[in-house]
Symmetry: C2
Subunit: 159 residues, 2 copies
């Protein structure tokens, strides 16, 4: 009898906490028969809205500036996914897919969790960007309240 595939979403960002959460989950809660587990790495790029074509003085940004910001955002996403790969590459049989959304991290994470129909969402406890954290409070707290599936919040030990 084949067991149903289990879908897991791990929210990753540039924080050590999110990489630790991914690593902890793989080490501790992925059963030996990895074949039945599909892990989605989900990442939220900042919403395009914050790249206003106007700066504070109302002048139009040049397309060069916009292209630079766009490139920076793409590089950041690539770098996060690359770091995640360093974490999961030792778990040979685990199936991993990347999903990159654009927008507010909470909306992207909760939206993808819904759309992908995941069984459990894994998050670091203080992840999702120091700017968003400072401005908006803890993304993981809010996602834990909002999503319908079980949520695993992994804290990185201090030492």
């Amino acid at each position: 009898m084949e067991t149903k595939e289990r879908k897991v979403a791990v929210a990753v960002d540039e924080s050590e906490e999110s990489m630790y959460a991914l690593s902890w989950f793989l080490q501790n809660l992925v059963p030996d028969n990895h074949q039945n587990t599909l892990i989605f790495l989900i990442y939220a790029r900042p919403p395009p809205a914050i790249y206003s074509p106007f700066d504070a003085a109302g002048d139009l940004f040049s397309s060069d500036v916009l292209a630079t910001v766009e490139k920076y955002s793409k590089d950041l996403a690539d770098s996060v996914m690359k770091r995640a790969k360093e974490v999961y590459q030792n778990f040979h049989n685990v199936k991993i897919e990347e999903r990159i959304g654009s927008g507010d991290a909470r909306d992207v994470i909760c939206g993808l969790v819904d759309t992908l129909g995941v069984d459990v969402l894994v998050m670091g406890s203080h992840g999702y960007g120091f700017i968003q954290r400072a401005l908006l409070g803890s993304v993981s707290d809010e996602c834990a309240k909002k999503v319908k599936c079980p949520v695993l919040i992994v804290k990185r030990p201090k030492n």
Copy 2:
């Protein structure tokens, strides 16, 4: 090579949410080799302090009343553990131990998690008693913030 035993604490109470959390964890995140997983069912009885020997009018409660309250608290603990057993009895090889503490649910849960050195704490999202919930806010929220280990918060689907 023997793998390290994994210790899991599941906080149970009289709520359906906590029983669902136990069941969901057993079904979804306990690997096939149950032998390496030890599950502590932890339950907090109300603190003895709420059984004041004086009632609102300042009269001393009779020892009969105190005995009745004590018995009610014990019966409630027994009933919760009995319901939990109905949930876990189908998972034949899983090792379960009961730990009943006395006091504020948050202190008992966080304290036991520390003392027992558990690797992950599993809680229902709205559990731990309707009185405490109303008076003190969500126990699971606070435990998730306080304990050092990863916390899995399981929501019971609406349907």
